[in-house]
Symmetry: C2
Subunit: 493 residues, 2 copies
């Protein structure tokens, strides 16, 4: 239960004010308990990629489990004033909040699962007021962790199996920007982190050696290496670029030779600046000549999947990749644009009414219903995903329609194996899901990626994985859009 270990404060107010003003409005209008369905999904893969790795569910669950308006929360809400200095909320509403218990059904895609645009990562069904209230924290947690897990998967892919160490804390976006990102990076593909607190809280392997300041603190580089080697005879990686990189490599080799008779194991050297291809090649030659063939070369310096690929193509002799800023902040796209949209609500008669949010762009129009995702597969390979409405029947002949181009369709061969992606997490507010260990989530991510064709895993101009709307759902959406637009005449904006 990491969130509860980390946070002292109630996180119930970790939401936008407008969730509370809407809650108040629903309460005033007797609509608080109306049953509604919301979906959390994104519209476009991050990094122009071909897949996204779902993450953040564990923290989302922990947030929902602690959801409870404390006296302190209520007294803060009581203190809020409107523009004419009147209290923003009635006391009876605060009383309602104080007694509020979370009673929603939540279904979600397990962490580490690959997901595609428009597919719900989380589905919330329950009283309108509650289901609305949790929008902002769910988005905050799922958007960020999914973003970082995806970035880490791409970086790991680029290294073609080499070790990746996450060490971005110093440039991360705040304390939790480092902590939950370290977890997400590990889940997505990183092998270890430099972040000790993340190591402690999430049981992630930690790695690290020394900084330039270690070398500077001694009178000479050789003295610094020797002192470090003596302190860590079995685990020394020497940072060699404090003054001059190849000179540093030579010094490291001399020190290693000197310490060897005392049982020293020369683990590695680290390059942190300059032309990493050239320097790693020269360093490899120097190390091999000295007989240190199994000494690793660790490299860092603004690495990401693109730079790593270039370095490998150029023949860089790097075994371990230290990745910081570019991974921990998802530097080239530091936010995932996940949204949380109302898709169905029961009317006063208790019947479901479907809802969409229109937009001039079809990609921004939401999907109606209570959605589930069916994933088809064969012989260890994922074939296609179908988003469908659980509240409506599906034709025997299953057919997908591309969400943005209805002329692109795919008929599913009868008998194709499939599984449903969303699994029950909460039922009437009670957790019914056993949270997997981080190690097993990491394994799951790896298995998921192995089932995706490599043309889709590619991180530049990937192939599109077929993920579409079930035919009836597509038709219903089109009908709703046309109906909502029917009042407009030609010539109107």
């Amino acid at each position: 239960m990491a969130l509860q270990q980390i946070y002292r404060t109630s996180l119930t107010l970790l939401t936008d004010l407008y969730q509370l003003t809407m809650a108040y409005g629903y309460w005033k209008n007797g609509m608080s308990e109306r049953e509604a369905v919301f979906h959390l999904y994104f519209r476009k893969h991050p990094f122009e990629g071909g897949y996204t790795v779902a993450a953040g569910l564990e923290h989302a669950v922990e947030y929902l489990q602690q959801l409870k308006f404390t006296e302190e929360d209520c007294s803060y809400l009581r203190s809020l004033k409107g523009s004419q200095n009147q209290p923003l909320f009635e006391e009876a509403f605060l009383d309602y909040l104080r007694h509020l218990e979370f009673t929603c059904d939540v279904d979600a895609v397990p962490e580490g699962t690959l997901v595609f645009p428009s597919e719900p990562l989380v589905r919330v069904r329950g009283p309108l007021l509650q289901a609305q209230l949790i929008e902002t924290p769910l988005l905050n947690i799922i958007n960020f962790e999914t973003l970082i897990a995806t970035k880490a998967a791409r970086i790991k892919e680029a290294t073609k199996g080499d070790q990746v160490i996450e060490f971005g804390m110093r440039r991360a976006q705040g304390i939790d920007g480092a902590l939950s990102a370290a977890r997400a990076a590990y889940l997505g593909g990183a092998d270890a982190t430099s972040n000790l607190l993340a190591g402690q809280l999430y049981n992630i392997p930690v790695r690290g050696t020394h900084a330039h300041s270690w070398v500077q603190a001694f009178d000479s580089e050789a003295e610094a290496f020797e002192a470090y080697g003596a302190a860590f005879p079995k685990d020394s990686v020497f940072l060699v670029d404090t003054y001059d990189t190849l000179e540093g490599v030579k010094q490291a080799i001399e020190v290693a030779k000197k310490l060897q008779p005392r049982g020293f194991v020369f683990g590695g050297i680290r390059l942190d600046s300059g032309d990493l291809t050239y320097l790693s090649q020269q360093a490899r030659i120097l190390l091999d000549e000295a007989g240190f063939n199994s000494t690793s070369i660790v490299a860092s310096n603004d690495l990401d999947e693109h730079l790593i690929t270039h370095l490998k193509q150029e023949g860089a002799q790097i075994n371990v990749w230290g990745v910081g800023t570019k991974m921990i902040t998802a530097y080239d796209q530091p936010a995932l644009g996940g949204v949380y949209k109302l898709a169905a609500i029961k009317n006063k008669a208790g019947e479901w009414e479907y809802k969409i949010k229109l937009s001039e762009q079809l990609v921004k129009t939401s999907n109606p219903g209570m959605l589930q995702v069916r994933r088809y597969f064969s012989q260890g390979r994922y074939l296609a995903d179908m988003i469908y409405n659980e509240l409506e029947p599906i034709p025997e002949q299953e057919q997908l329609v591309h969400p943005l181009d209805s002329t692109r369709r795919k008929i599913i061969e009868p008998g194709t194996k499939s599984k449903e992606l969303l699994v029950p997490i909460f039922r009437e507010g009670t957790l019914v899901y056993e949270l997997p260990s981080l190690a097993s989530i990491k394994m799951h991510t790896k298995q998921e990626l192995s089932q995706l064709h490599e043309s889709i895993r590619r991180y530049v101009n990937p192939h599109n994985y077929p993920a579409g709307l079930e035919e009836n759902l597509h038709q219903q959406k089109m009908d709703m859009i046309l109906k909502l637009r029917s009042t407009k005449s030609v010539g109107e904006v």
Copy 2:
């Protein structure tokens, strides 16, 4: 004390493993207590801007105040194993940590102060082991909050005095990515936040209205507006783009007219998509025609300083700017590259030895000494900054040398008024600084910006503010670089 309100866990392990391995190495070598000086500074303004707004000191202070290895921290460190499964640290070292008290002197630039490349934002002087240990968390906190405060200042500048509301929580980088960023954004220029928990913890004004889902939850848009207007008769801003923006504006106007006799105040409408210039102009016409001349138009949708400027130039009729993702993640540059470098250390004889870290790029070579910054000003305008070494005398005739181009120099006219930027924060581990309120920090930022020439405040191709090295410091640095490089011959790499 927000951090202690927020975090339950000890944050002492919120650092990189290598800080602990170095600590162990210093301890093993009897160097833990050697007095050292480190500086935290950046090399380049973020966003290609002309200034940076320092932020994060309060959280840094709170982190330092709680610094203490708990039993739990030590037992985690005890559990760490080396490559041959041996314990990474000796028990006696853990015992040393358990009794460690923070005893450093810390000087820093107050939050809201404008800072320039190479100027220390934080200076730590004290036992080498301690001063090294705190590198990562100081960088994490100061880098991020400074980045966001600077972004917010730029965005506020672009609005030319209009209100800016921060509402990026849903896309922020984790929980603290939202919380501390909401504070930094407010400090730098935002007028309010949508983030209730940030409002509660930091006493920031909160703002918010309703989402698309509110409109969707009702049978018609008019019904939705009417219900919201009834709940908030004095504070309604209607979101008008759920189905069709200008149709939404008309509906909002009709509802406002209907509710007016019951004392309704039509606060505003919000546009969240489409052509904001055109739609805001049309909306203004419709509102004015209906007599709602003082009804605000709030706009949002991936806004930043550049887009806001374009919209204003095009004549958009927007009064309030809702800024989310682009501000809360500093989207176009999501990390500030601040570093923390050793600059001086006492030798065994107790004499200061100056230290630099070399680099092939002069901009990456650190500055030696125990640095302070002197800011010159005249008639409410900042003229120049001089970085100097407090441990050395300064010539009577003060002269700055550009840190990257020693041919650019500036002589300070005798008698020019000046002040020192770094102020004492901790003395021997005791807090000696009274943390200002967030409101007064915000005011300080505003005053700071008003003292900077507008050509430097400009956010595209700004003028360079003269911030240079004191002449002797420059000379000393050059001498050290040449000496460190003197062993290399022509023809060597």
